[in-house]
């Protein structure tokens, strides 16, 4: 897992669920390690490799650099890395198209918004988060090009991901600027955003895992990133894992917007249809959601 801990209610927790599912289904066992600092990443990888674990799955782009140096030392071990491309013969890189999922979330937000103003709250201003925000903004604008998307970040240090109070405050600030749907991609900070949105009676959008259940009837949807599926797949393939890059996009079921009984009342049939249309177009390639990472720009919003 990445720094941030296993039970962050989103990213890392999803990975854990994937591993659990595999363990339950196959009766296999796995080892899990949590990072607490940078120098430890390499240590942990080597330790796992030397203990004979195969495959080794890691979540988070921060492992990329380390994996590049470690993987060649253990050619017989298979590695899978999530959220990063590492070009090594024994590494499978799993990347998600967060912009696509966020686009769908944006479509829903655009339609749900009555004020024409929606919000986005990111944890820290890093490329990954911009990708989320940019996809979201494109989705919103696809519904109504004149809508305003408020893009905010929580902070610049480690507390950015663990600052629910500030998250709530930003949500209130966005609400006061007339936003009535707020998308939070900010780890633990998002918990505060969703809570504040629910308290203020406006809608919010969760991220990574399905967070709809946190405030039933008040979370419009969650942009789920099926890290659990990726981990599950990687474990299932086991030592036979195919190296290379696996793009977990909308078509591959890697990203999606969560629909369940908790948000059923919020999702109108038109909304449902618009999402399905957009998804279909994206899958078919007809609609191309711009990826912020490709050129560090965003056509729909400004960071």
């Amino acid at each position: 897992y990445d720094v941030g801990g296993k039970n962050d209610k989103s990213f890392n927790e999803a990975a854990f669920h994937g591993a659990e599912r595999w363990a339950k289904e196959t009766g296999g066992t796995y080892k899990e390690l949590e990072m607490q600092n940078e120098a430890q990443r390499e240590q942990a990888l080597r330790q796992l490799a030397e203990s004979g674990a195969n495959p080794i799955v890691m979540t988070g782009f921060a492992f990329g650099d380390v994996l590049n140096t470690v993987a060649p030392d253990y050619p017989k071990t298979k590695f899978a890395i999530i959220d990063m491309v590492v070009d090594q013969p024994n590494v499978k890189s799993v990347v998600f198209t967060e912009e696509q999922g966020s686009y769908l979330a944006g479509v829903m937000a655009g339609m749900a918004s009555k004020t024409g103003v929606v919000g986005f709250i990111g944890g820290m201003d890093i490329p990954l988060i911009r990708r989320f925000g940019c996809g979201y903004a494109q989705g919103v604008k696809s519904v109504n090009p004149n809508d305003t998307v408020l893009l905010n970040m929580t902070g610049t240090d480690g507390s950015a991901w663990n600052n629910p109070v500030k998250g709530a405050e930003i949500a209130k600030s966005q609400q006061s600027q007339k936003a009535d749907v707020i998308y939070a991609a900010a780890g633990g900070t998002g918990v505060g955003v969703l809570q504040a949105a629910a308290d203020m009676g406006i809608l919010s959008i969760g991220v990574d895992s399905n967070q709809n259940y946190l405030h039933p009837g008040q979370v419009l949807t969650s942009m789920v990133k099926r890290v659990d599926n990726a981990v599950y797949e990687a474990f299932k393939e086991g030592a036979d894992m195919k190296p290379g890059v696996a793009v977990m996009d909308l078509a591959a079921g890697g990203v999606d917007v969560a629909m369940d009984e908790n948000n059923a009342k919020l999702v109108t049939p038109e909304m449902q249809k618009a999402v399905e249309d957009a998804a279909a177009k994206i899958k078919s390639g007809e609609l191309k959601v711009h990826d912020y990472m490709s050129d560090n720009t965003c056509p729909a919003g400004q960071f």
Binding site: E34, N37, A39, Q43, G64, M293
Partner: protein, 363 residues
């Protein structure tokens, strides 16, 4: 009121304090349903059980030595520099710029460049608060703290918008050229025939840190500047009487302090990560405060305290890797160690004094 023999004061008291801290932590581990003895074994083995493990311990210790010395120098001048975190962050920027912009032909030259760059950047970052304190009367504790926050924002901006290679997801700089990689401690010890694992991040920076400790010691107790720093720290009024300029001393003290903090980056950035990460300091600046206080502001005490904290840090990692004990147990252990050895030694000293007095009387 009989004084303890020196050995008891220096060795026995801290040892008992350490044991108390470990015992309490053991109770906590037991309380959450885990086996404390097992945990201790894993910790010790994982951090001291092999040269590989020692490598990690020493790597962390190196960071703490730099930041601990930094805090202590300012402390001697009675300035509380809690900006080590920010100064080390800027030091990292210095190292990265030096390693990325200058095509160093050999690591030795790159090392000299990095030392200069990291010290310069760290010192510059500390000098602004120092100047503000000396000239404008701003409180150094507040300004250095604010400069920590500012440095994080600055680093965030620089990495995301400037140093990050295009298309990279990671808010980090590009990798440094291989030529600037510092030799590992294992390689150096190998040259003199001592077998030491080099599959760990311990590198030549450790020697620089030790040299810095000796340097600080010589500076504080054998040079005029050190004398003036200490005099100023004890009494500003008296320092003025002796013709020591408060402004000058404040600037010197913080420049030295910031420079040392910045030099931490040689170890973490050039020695280990080989690129500049968003959070390359990882709280070492704050741990430096604990290390300096525990080392009683003496360089040699600081070296020992750094190794202790390196052990706790690495042992803690191992605990988290090897058991289902949450890694934060180590934070608790660190807290207890700081508390008992740093703030409560008197609690142990008192009964010991009685004990020794009793023994002397019966003898």
């Amino acid at each position: 009121m009989d004084k303890l023999p020196r050995w008891a004061d220096v060795v026995l008291v801290p040892l008992i304090c350490l044991i108390i801290a470990f015992v309490i932590c053991g109770v906590l581990i037991w309380g959450i349903g885990q086996d404390p003895a097992d945990a201790l074994k894993i910790m010790v083995q994982g951090s001291l059980g092999s040269t590989y493990a020692w490598g990690y311990t020493l790597y962390y210790a190196t960071n703490f030595m730099f930041t601990g010395l930094a805090v202590s120098i300012a402390f001697q001048a009675s300035l509380f520099n809690i900006g080590g975190e920010g100064q080390a962050t800027l030091g990292g920027l210095g190292v990265a710029l030096s390693c990325l912009l200058i095509p160093w032909p050999h690591w030795t030259l790159a090392l000299i460049g990095s030392i200069a760059a990291s010290a310069l950047f760290g010192a510059a970052w500390a000098l602004i608060p120092a100047w503000l304190q000396a000239r404008r009367g701003s409180h150094i504790v507040i300004t250095t703290m604010m400069f920590n926050f500012i440095s994080f924002a600055l680093m965030n901006y620089v990495l995301v918008n400037m140093l990050r290679p295009l298309g990279s997801m990671d808010p980090a700089s590009a990798r440094f050229p291989a030529a600037v990689n510092l030799p590992k401690l294992g390689d150096i010890l190998g040259l003199v025939g001592i077998p030491f694992s080099s599959k760990n991040p311990a590198n030549i920076s450790l020697l620089i840190a030790l040299a810095a400790a000796v340097g600080v010691w010589a500076l504080m107790w054998h040079t005029r500047l050190g004398y003036e720093l200490r005099a100023f720290g004890k009494s500003e009024k008296a320092a003025v009487y002796a013709g020591i300029s408060p402004v000058r001393i404040t600037l010197y003290a913080l420049a030295l302090s910031g420079g040392l903090s910045g030099m931490m980056a040689i170890n973490a950035v050039q020695g280990e990560a080989h690129r500049l990460l968003l959070n390359s300091v990882e709280g070492a600046g704050f741990i430096g405060i604990a290390v300096a206080l525990m080392g009683r502001n003496h360089p040699f005490g600081i070296v020992l305290a750094s190794i202790l904290f390196g052990f706790l840090y690495e042992g803690g990692s191992q605990l988290a890797l090897g058991t289902s004990i949450p890694r934060e147990v180590i934070t608790v252990l660190q807290a207890l160690v700081i508390l008992f050895t740093g703030a409560l030694p008197y609690m142990v000293q008192k009964p010991l004094e009685h004990l020794f007095a009793l023994r002397r009387r019966t003898a």
